[in-house]
């Protein structure tokens, strides 16, 4: 069954504060970046850049603040399952909208 040793280690992984501080700094930097990017005309790339920065920030929070980097495979699978289902909702609904009423105006 489970690698008992691995579970004990990962379960009690205590992230040192320095990691939190670095991530905190990164998040603030990315926030500034995303605000700056909204002032630059990039056409179609504006929403892409905004979402990409958002995904990076969210990933940092999930991996480090929420500890998923050091968590069990089950936790990682659970996060993936949630994202997968959300993406299923979005893409399958889009399959209808893109093919009949996209960019209407």
């Amino acid at each position: 069954m489970t690698d008992h040793h691995e579970t004990e280690e990962t379960q009690h992984h205590v992230t040192p504060p320095i990691v939190y501080m670095v991530i905190f700094g990164c998040l603030l930097v990315f926030t500034a970046l995303t605000v700056a990017a909204s002032y630059i005309e990039m056409g179609l790339w504006n929403p892409v850049v905004a979402l990409a920065i958002g995904v990076v920030k969210a990933t940092l929070v999930v991996l480090f603040f929420m500890g998923v980097k050091y968590s069990t495979k089950l936790t990682k699978l659970t996060v993936a399952a949630g994202l997968f289902t959300f993406l299923a909702l979005v893409t399958m609904t889009l399959s209808d909208y893109i093919s009949r009423a996209w960019g209407r105006w």
């Binding site: 069954m1 489970t2 690698d3 008992h4 579970t7 004990e8 379960q11 009690h12 205590v14 992230t15 040192p16 504060p17 939190y20 501080m21 991530i23 905190f24 998040l27 603030l28 926030t31 995303t34 605000v35 990017a37 909204s38 002032y39 630059i40 005309e41 504006n46 905004a50 979402l51 920065i53 958002g54 920030k57 969210a58 929070v61 999930v62 480090f64 603040f65 929420m66 069990t72 495979k73 089950l74 936790t75 659970t78 996060v79 399952a81 949630g82 994202l83 289902t85 959300f86 909702l89 979005v90 609904t93 889009l94 909208y97 009423a101 996209w102 960019g103 209407r104 105006w105």
Partner: protein, 251 residues
């Protein structure tokens, strides 16, 4: 699918009193309880992803359909307040993470301090949102309540925004779609704020218990699991901010 450690004993369940007082009786070990409640909180967060997911879906469709209205309407939001709130929430995530570290390393004073800071930052966030909402109400930008499109059909009538963005007057039919933007604004930030309020209430309870040392004697799961919830609420805002405030500040 390897998860729970094999509990390799079958000792009688009654009369087996070697477990800590905060371990519930249907669990064999404290580790099982911690594992289990952590997993349960993650599953709950999955339901939250799907709940907000519906709103993000609506946003996606309507932004694609009514982009000009969304751009103009988003100019009505203050980028200063928005960025400030983002920084506040990220900071509260930091203090919450530090709080979890304090609980794990049994620093009672540190934990209380971190929880109090998180609590206060949360209140600041809500305070700023109140200021923003009040402004929206005053300008009649609340969907369904005497909604006014004047600021969009005649941008000059709204000097503060006009100074910054010089929006062109919009035809009435597109201007009317700004109401959909504001519905999404209120629904998404409102739902987010509701989750903040619940979180802050629980934080209050936790501060009270933390002062009594409840979380610094080995029983850290409550703080850890609440931390997960708090970070999740932060992540929602991480996406709401660019989607609502930063649609286009260059047009």
């Amino acid at each position: 699918m390897s998860d729970s450690p094999a509990i390799a004993h079958s000792a009688p369940v009654e009369g087996h009193h070697e477990h800590p007082s905060y371990q519930r009786h249907h669990f064999e070990t404290y580790e099982q309880q911690a594992d289990t409640t952590n997993f349960a909180m993650w599953l709950f967060l999955l339901t939250e992803i799907m709940f907000f997911g519906g709103l993000f879906m609506a946003y996606l469709i309507y932004r694609n359909w009514y982009y000009p209205a969304f751009v103009a309407a988003s100019h009505q939001l203050s980028i200063v307040w928005g960025t400030c709130n983002t920084a506040v929430l990220i900071s509260s995530s930091f203090t919450m993470a530090m709080g979890v570290w304090c609980a794990e390393t049994r620093r009672r004073g540190g934990l209380v301090l971190c929880l109090v800071l998180t609590f206060l930052l949360g209140l600041v966030f809500l305070g700023i949102k109140t200021i923003e909402y009040t402004e929206k109400i005053e300008k009649h930008h609340v969907p369904g309540f005497h909604y006014s499109v004047q600021a969009f059909t005649n941008p000059a009538s709204d000097p503060d925004t006009y100074k910054e963005y010089k929006d062109k007057p919009m035809p009435l039919d597109m201007a009317r779609h700004t109401e959909i933007y504001f519905f999404l604004y209120f629904a998404m930030t409102g739902m987010h704020a509701l989750h903040m309020i619940i979180g802050i209430a629980i934080l209050g309870f936790m501060i009270f218990r933390a002062r009594a040392g409840a979380y610094t004697t080995g029983h850290v799961t409550f703080v850890e699991n609440f931390g997960l919830y708090w970070h999740f609420v932060d992540i929602i805002w991480i996406f709401l901010f660019p989607l609502l405030y930063l649609i286009s500040r260059h047009q």
